[in-house]
């Protein structure tokens, strides 16, 4: 009897959405949003709730809140993870969710998926010490441990495909236009 693969991803819905959006290109234009309020020092609180897609305003079930700060060794108060760590969270979660979706689509049963990320950064950049050093990460390394009903090659292919279709992977590895204005 064939085992039904269930990674909790509704692939049928995703495939149906893909077909529907092929014929309704305007509906595929999404706008994601975040708001941020300064609290004190380097401590800020960002919230996410509303977004736009499928031609109209949408809303998450509840408002999500993210406190970020700098650690005590930066002479701060450590009320939350640093913004650069939040970026690693974005990448990790996008790739991991992608693995689940691709696995579901390929009929691979996942048992566990864990990722560890490391981003190397030289502070001489953001501290303005050395103009040749960039502000951001020199390099980000992602290590996945995947326990699944599949060969090593199939798992590697899964992880490779997840990167290919990851929004955050694209945002980080390719240039993205950012405009900032003051009103």
């Amino acid at each position: 009897m064939a085992q039904v693969v269930n990674n909790g991803v509704n692939v049928d819905a995703l495939l149906a959405a893909r077909e529907a959006l092929k014929n309704a290109p305007a509906a595929a234009e999404f706008t994601w949003r975040a708001s941020c309020k300064w609290l004190n020092g380097t401590h800020t609180r960002s919230t996410v709730q509303g977004f736009r897609g499928l031609g109209e305003e949408q809303s998450h079930k509840s408002e999500f809140s993210f406190d970020t700060d700098h650690p005590e060794i930066f002479a701060s108060e450590d009320h939350g993870a640093t913004p650069v760590e939040v970026v690693l969270v974005g990448l990790a979660s996008c790739l991991t969710a992608g693995i689940a979706a691709v696995a579901q689509n390929r009929g691979i049963q996942l048992r566990s998926v864990e990722a560890r990320l490391e981003g190397k950064m030289n502070l001489a950049g953001i501290l303005g010490i050395d103009g040749d050093v960039r502000n951001g990460y020199d390099n980000i390394k992602v290590t996945f441990h995947v326990d699944a009903d599949a060969s090593k090659k199939d798992i590697e292919a899964l992880v490779a495909q997840s990167q290919k279709r990851s929004a955050v992977f694209d945002i980080i590895t390719n240039p993205t236009n950012v405009t900032v204005e003051v009103v």
Partner: protein, 427 residues
């Protein structure tokens, strides 16, 4: 020329595909003419670089009733040989070709199509578009941000390394053309930086046979368009990183890197004169390596199933494509390191003359296996995975031409011409 000429069928394009269709129509006594804007095999003569050789070994170069008969069946024809091969085919079949006749418009009329050419008007009941998919080099919009000090060439204007100024060359695109040019330009003493995005990696030889021997015999190449899961994706695949050399060498990125070519990620943007490359290169390399392995697995599985000795060596696998742990992310085009950019970023078809609404907003022809269903009596040849994976290769023209000629004959007879979807039917 006075008045309007009439033919049953007009074939536009006297490349190997158009000429194949002509030969098949002649066999079936369907009167037709082949209109060619230049000379027979025009694109090969005028729109490719000097050192080009076919990717397909000579024994695979078959057109209807016309095969390679030279001394080197395992070798790869160079450009003059290909032109002669196709010209000999045209002559041998007495193809009714009108050279230097450009079609400036095709439109639908009540009983077929009306064509305006540089030499008069033609009416026909059916028309075959054999102009190919490679009429215009496709250059990304960001080329407008290249500083004036850097010379730009496309693969149409590139002929040989000596036409380039001395100094560094940035090659954008790593499909067959990009890697071939990277190799030859680097060997000319000009440092090359090669931008690599999604690509298809193949070994030239596998277990003692040419990789295209495997493609042909294992059936991969004969896979029909209606049996392919993601056809759109298959049609957009870049040409594989292959070259035809007397040494049967494999053109792989590891070898180029060892020779000193700098491999960087896909050219993603040019900002303030800085070329910015994707940091996702490792993923592109991994995807290509994995895809190649899956293909070799498929070859091995087919080989195991054969009951005759296919004379293949032991199973082999090839080293993964490595890159320096830190590949370059940007290059200042103002600094003078790069004197030339070669855009090896592909081509697109030109349908500007086609006044029939069968072209998508992205500029592709809408067709079902080469039958332009929205325009009765209109057919296409030589487009990617038109009917089979081998459709754009020289040896793929005949089967497609025969299938479509059968449909065309049915159309002319008024039966509506249903093409059989039975794989057995398509020899």
């Amino acid at each position: 020329m006075t008045g309007i000429e009439r033919f049953t069928t007009v074939i536009i394009g006297a490349g190997h595909a158009g000429l194949s269709m002509s030969r098949v129509l002649t066999e079936q006594s369907i009167d037709h003419v082949v209109l060619e804007r230049g000379e027979v095999a025009n694109s090969w003569r005028h729109e490719r670089w000097d050192s080009l050789r076919l990717l397909t070994p000579n024994w695979l170069c078959r057109l209807p009733g016309h095969a390679y008969e030279g001394p080197d069946p395992d070798g790869f024809m160079n450009l003059p040989d290909v032109v002669n091969f196709i010209a000999a085919f045209a002559a041998g079949t007495s193809a009714p070709v009108r050279t230097h006749t450009t079609v400036s418009s095709v439109r639908a009329v009540e009983d077929g199509y009306q064509l305006v050419t540089g030499r008069g008007e033609i009416r026909c009941r059916s028309v075959v578009l054999a102009t190919g998919a490679n009429n215009i080099p496709r250059v990304p919009d960001l080329h407008r941000a290249v500083p004036q000090s850097v010379q730009c060439l496309t693969t149409f204007s590139y002929r040989h390394p000596e036409q380039l100024p001395p100094g560094g060359v940035l090659i954008v695109g790593a499909a067959a053309t990009g890697v071939q040019l990277a190799d030859e330009i680097h060997r000319s003493g000009r440092p090359v930086t090669l931008c690599v995005g999604e690509h298809v990696r193949l070994p030239r030889s596998y277990r003692g046979h040419d990789v295209l021997w495997w493609m042909e015999h294992s059936g991969v190449w004969n896979q029909r368009y209606d049996q392919i899961e993601d056809l759109e994706r298959a049609r957009r695949l870049p040409s594989p990183q292959l070259v035809g050399t007397p040494e049967h060498s494999t053109l792989e990125l590891n070898r180029l890197a060892d020779a000193g070519v700098e491999i960087v990620g896909r050219l993603a943007a040019i900002r303030d004169g800085h070329a910015l490359f994707s940091g996702g290169l490792a993923n592109h390399l991994a995807l290509a390596d994995l895809k190649m392995e899956r293909l070799l697995d498929a070859f091995d599985a087919w080989a195991r199933d054969q009951h005759v000795d296919i004379d293949a060596g032991p199973v082999e696998r090839f080293p993964s494509t490595l890159l320096p742990s830190r590949s370059r992310l940007s290059l200042d085009l103002h600094r003078g390191e790069i004197r030339t950019i070669v855009w090896a970023t592909g081509y697109r078809p030109d349908y500007g003359w086609l006044q029939v609404p069968v072209v998508t907003p992205k500029g592709d022809l809408r067709h079902d296996g080469g039958v332009v269903t929205e325009a009765p009596g209109m057919y296409a040849l030589g487009l990617p995975v038109l009917r089979r994976r081998k459709s754009t290769f020289i040896n793929g023209a005949e089967a497609d031409a025969r299938d479509l000629a059968r449909h065309l004959a049915g159309f002319l007879a008024g039966s509506g011409g249903l093409v059989s979807r039975d794989p057995e039917d398509a020899a």
